[in-house]
């Protein structure tokens, strides 16, 4: 069964990059890129920081806590921004959810 491409991001989600989207630092151009089929994207610094936390283990809630502590900003504001950004990435096919164990 293929991974769902249309995920809905919530604080409980544990998103990760699907195998066809690779986050990589491009040494030649000194910039972070997402490699995807027929495309190369240049995510900004905040997107890169959040994407690096998307390991399929960490929940969105944990990520928000971590970013809230780091930037000493109101949790609510960070949560809104992070979820909106992750949902947007998911809608574009650059995020998927870790598979639930079903046995």
């Amino acid at each position: 069964m293929a991974l769902s491409r249309n995920i809905s991001v919530s604080e409980a989600s544990r998103p990760k990059l699907p195998r066809h989207a690779k986050l990589k630092f491009d040494e030649t151009r000194q910039v972070w890129v997402i490699l995807a089929p027929e495309r190369v994207l240049a995510p900004d610094e905040i997107a890169v920081e959040v994407l690096q936390l998307c390991d399929g283990v960490r929940s969105v809630s944990d990520m928000i806590d971590q970013l809230t502590a780091k930037y000493a900003a109101p949790r609510e504001a960070i949560a809104t921004d992070v979820i909106a950004m992750l949902q947007d990435l998911a809608d574009k096919g650059f995020l998927t959810e870790a598979r639930e164990k079903t046995s």
């Binding site: 991974l3 089929p37 990435l89």
Partner: protein
């Protein structure tokens, strides 16, 4: 092959990442003007010209590289390593039929080892589930399968191979079962455009991520078959309507890239993003080419990875790449045209094929003095319904026989 390979869209908008920009533009801004022609983000590796299909619109040159001239496994590995070192990010394994190379898994693994994102552009007919699984394990990132129609009657006839369509459907299913993203590439022409709606539905049913609706580009084999392939104006209008409707209806389900046939366009396509600007490919024998049809232009010398020059040197300094780079080489009407940095004068191979001089304005452009004549000729060819194919092969082509249909 469409020319969208490096047409990246970037996520650059602060927090929400909602505004898509051109990824290439974003990356190019970081370079000084002295480095205008930076190394491309993606490179097409044509591993072989061998192919079990005989499609009459094949993008390979009429003079195919024989198996014996192909780069060896070690030579390709060295090329992949060098590409990664100079800043190439993605490698498209193509052909001919790349799976005809026995060392494909080894090459994909090497691409993964050196950090290249790998894409397989295949006809799929030689693949087994085991082979596809081995490719996935070697780190293959994306699979693109060509389809010639939505059912075997048309599809197998165009491919010139029996049971080809059935096999493609199997491989497409395995691709998704292995969690590999799938692009369906549908090459469209007069004799299959009536199937477009069904092809779009087929791509949805196959759980493809992307569909390329690529109208035939008329060089090489396709130019020889132009009378049998050229769509009518009415077909093109219907095609655009179907694609536009499907794009809206399937948003979030299937992304559709649409390549318009440039004979019926007002402006020429920005071929390869401009000659020597953001793309090169490597032929089976190791020549570095500005596009896969470039060898059709006689009088240009293309250097090989077997020469004593580096790939970066060939890209930056070779005569063939610099001949039509930028806008300085352009004659009128291009030179004073306000679109010259938008389409870079169109396609050099098409200009050569249709006017005899690769330095002329691409006749696909309405501003070309040749446009009217060529457009009329194409329209007449489309109306004449001469449907017989000349199949692509190493023997210089074989005419379809009555009732045989090559398949």
């Amino acid at each position: 092959m469409s020319d969208i390979l490096t047409d990246g869209k970037a996520l650059t908008d602060g927090k929400a990442a909602t505004a898509p920009h051109d990824g290439l533009a974003v990356l190019e801004q970081r370079r000084s003007t002295a480095e205008t022609f930076g190394i491309p983000l993606a490179v097409l590796a044509e591993l072989t010209h061998r192919c079990p299909l005989q499609c009459p619109y094949c993008s390979n040159p009429l003079e195919l590289d024989r198996g014996g001239t192909e780069l060896t496994t070690e030579e390709w590995k060295k090329v992949l390593t060098e590409l990664a070192e100079i800043g190439v990010l993605q490698i498209h394994f193509s052909g001919g039929e790349p799976t005809a190379r026995k060392d494909l898994v080894e090459l994909v693994q090497h691409a993964s080892d050196v950090g290249l994102y790998s894409n397989l552009i295949t006809s799929a007919v030689l693949l087994t589930r085991e082979k596809l699984s081995a490719l996935a394990d070697a780190g293959l990132c994306h699979v693109q399968i060509s389809f010639q129609g939505n059912e075997p009657m048309v599809a197998d006839r165009v491919a010139g191979l029996k049971k080809a369509h059935e096999k493609k459907l199997d491989v497409a299913k395995w691709t998704r079962e292995l969690d590999l993203p799938l692009t369906v590439n549908a090459v469209m022409h007069r004799q299959n455009l009536h199937q477009l709606s069904d092809i779009i539905q087929m791509a949805v049913d196959l759980d493809a991520d992307r569909l390329e609706v690529a109208n035939v580009q008329y060089y090489g084999w396709a130019l020889k078959n132009r009378a049998a392939l050229m769509p009518t104006v009415a077909q093109i209008e219907e095609t655009s309507r179907i694609v536009e409707e499907a794009e809206v209806r399937l948003k979030g389900i299937l992304a559709i890239d649409y390549v318009v046939p440039d004979y019926y366009a007002l402006r020429p396509k920005k071929c390869m993003g401009g000659w020597g600007r953001q793309f090169f490919n490597i032929s089976p024998a190791g020549k570095i080419l500005p596009c896969h049809a470039a060898e059709s232009i006689t009088g240009l010398e293309f250097l090989s990875v077997r020469s004593n020059h580096s790939i970066a040197w060939i890209w930056q300094n070779s005569e063939a790449f610099n001949r039509y780079r930028g806008t300085g080489w352009m004659p009128e009407p291009c030179q004073s045209c306000e679109f010259k940095e938008i389409d870079f004068g169109g396609c050099r191979c098409q200009a050569f094929a249709l006017t005899g001089d690769a330095g002329n304005t691409d006749p696909a452009c309405t501003l070309s003095p040749m446009h009217e004549q060529i457009f009329k000729q194409a329209e007449q060819e489309a109306a004449a319904h001469q449907d017989r194919f000349l199949y692509r092969n190493f023997a210089g082509g074989t005419l379809e026989t009555e009732g045989e249909h090559g398949a």
